[in-house]
């Protein structure tokens, strides 16, 4: 059962990831990226990370991609017939180099079976305990970062009054 789910999520995720960079229209790329993120959330759930899987759907697929889709719709980048970006030799060379990198990484990072983990690995209580005990300084810094990002986005996107 786990093997079937792993192959399903991996193959769909990798195929949609390839379609993100191959599609000519930004709207299509965005929809494929949403599908990739949902498949990745499934992979996180298979790795016993239930809380992070829910967070991936909630923040990434539910908020960040909605924001990107909003901007695509507002910039009105419609579905014209645009020529493919980048010449064909460039794509072929990039594909071959990418394949070499992936094969090298796969050979380098061979590991055996994973150990069995506790029943509550990846639960809300576990992640929360780590977040508020060991990693409380990064947590506070992240909240400052979010404040800066909110102010920055509002200032950058405001229309200048004529």
């Amino acid at each position: 059962m786990e093997a079937f789910l792993f192959w399903l999520f991996s193959i769909v995720g990798v195929a949609c990831g390839a379609m993100v960079i191959w599609n000519r229209n930004p709207m299509g790329s965005a929809v494929y990226l949403v599908t990739t993120m949902l498949c990745l959330a499934g992979l996180y759930a298979l790795l016993s990370g239930a809380f992070v899987a829910a967070l991936q759907v909630l923040i990434y697929a539910g908020a960040v991609m909605v924001l990107i889709l909003f901007v695509i719709m507002m910039l009105n980048v419609r579905q014209e017939v645009v020529p493919r970006e980048g010449s064909l030799p460039a794509w072929i060379i990039a594909g071959v180099l990418g394949l070499i990198v992936v094969v090298n990484l796969a050979v380098l990072f061979r590991h055996g079976d994973s150990p069995t983990v506790a029943e509550d690995f990846g639960s809300i209580e576990g992640v929360g305990a780590q977040l508020f005990a060991t990693y409380v300084l990064p947590f506070e810094l992240i909240s400052v970062l979010l404040l800066i990002a909110v102010i920055g986005a509002v200032v950058l996107a405001k229309r200048r009054a004529p």
Partner: protein, 361 residues
């Protein structure tokens, strides 16, 4: 192992069956309810032979009409996204019900079967995650129609939905603090305990402001009156003008199923879920030491499941009454409310709850 999978599939099938039928039934209930409130008769024409059945055949007639209408995709529209958008609107509404417990643990044929499709450790976060996927149906429908007005309607609707998602999340956090768990069946179990010996510890006793904020924000997310500007119905063009027949029917059905979901969530978090006051697993246990009343197991389960159904129906009826009593807000009023009133009140509620919980324990 195989029997477990079959049990889960049976529970999922039951839940889907009940949800879809209740969604269809609510279309009739809304029209009859509005008729009763406005002192008229309402739908009573659809009949088989001589039986009109109070107009209960109207949802069936609506379904037949929607299936048999011509289904066209406008010229220049993105065909795949135009067809995908109604499914993307209906899917989150149906899937949220997987974590809502609709009954206690049943002892059947030597097995303990909890009446909940999936008992996730991250129950409430799963609900937030799936309800945030509901925006995609609206956005894709607005864009994929190749129509400027529906694009603007889609942008309006999705900005309203994402503004009120924040308030939904913050208003539920108070409940998480009080019951100290994110799993919905633990929350419902804890609502069966008694405060000071005689009051059932329902959520509304501890968090009345959060109840009001949650219902309001969920109504806005669901695009129901008084926040139904995206539909507009007679004033303004919505995001589904280019949809006909069953695709429009799916948007329509998604809205009513989400209404059942809002009612189910409110009942589970604030009104004790399937708990009947003073009814434990062995029978009634009256407060103040007044004695007990032993009941067989199947009767207790029946009462509790029936209580859940009745509470959900009362919640849906309340949402229908709200629909036909209030006028609708303008778009700038909706945005002002969402960001400057609802969000602040939810934060204040969370702060007060946190301080009180810290002082009490």
């Amino acid at each position: 192992m195989f029997v477990d999978v079959v049990i889960i599939l049976v529970k999922a099938g039951l839940v889907l069956f009940a949800l879809l039928n209740l969604g269809g039934f609510l279309t009739w209930a809304e029209r009859k309810q509005s008729a009763v409130m406005q002192d008229r008769i309402g739908p009573n024409r659809a009949n088989i032979g001589k039986f009109t059945l109070l107009g209960l055949l109207h949802p069936v007639a609506d379904g037949i009409k929607m299936i048999t209408k011509e289904d066209f995709i406008p010229e220049g529209a993105h065909r795949a996204l135009h067809t995908l958008a109604p499914a993307a609107a209906l899917f989150p509404a149906l899937v949220i019900f997987a974590v809502i417990p609709f009954g206690p643990t049943v002892h059947l044929f030597g097995r303990d079967i909890p009446l909940q499709v999936a008992n996730l450790n991250v129950g409430i976060v799963y609900i937030f995650a799936v309800s945030s996927l509901a925006v995609y149906g609206t956005m894709l429908a607005g864009w994929a129609s190749n129509n400027n007005y529906s694009l603007l309607g889609g942008l309006r609707a999705s900005s309203q939905m994402i503004s009120y998602e924040l308030s939904i999340g913050l208003s539920i956090l108070g409940i998480l603090l009080i019951y100290e768990s994110a799993q919905l069946d633990v929350i419902v179990h804890k609502q069966g305990e008694l405060l000071w010996g005689f009051l059932p510890q329902w959520g509304i006793l501890f968090q009345p402001l959060a109840f009001f904020l949650f219902v309001g924000a969920a109504l806005a997310e669901n695009k129901r009156v008084p926040f139904d500007l995206p539909e507009g119905e007679s004033e303004i063009i919505g995001y589904f003008v280019e949809y006909s027949s069953m695709k429009f029917g799916m948007f329509f059905l998604a809205e009513f199923v989400e209404m059942v979901i809002v009612s189910g969530l409110t009942v589970t978090l604030f009104f004790g879920g399937w708990q009947f006051p003073y009814l434990q697993a062995t029978g009634f246990v009256w407060p103040f030491g007044w004695g007990t009343l032993a009941l067989p197991h199947w009767l207790v389960v029946l009462i509790q499941v029936g209580t859940f159904g009745l509470k959900v129906l009362v919640g849906c009826w309340l949402l229908l009454v709200i629909r036909w009593s209030l006028p609708r807000f303008r778009y700038d009023q909706i945005m002002h409310l969402g960001w400057k009133v609802w969000f602040e009140l939810a934060l204040v509620n969370l702060l007060i709850t946190a301080v009180v919980v810290l002082l009490v324990t």
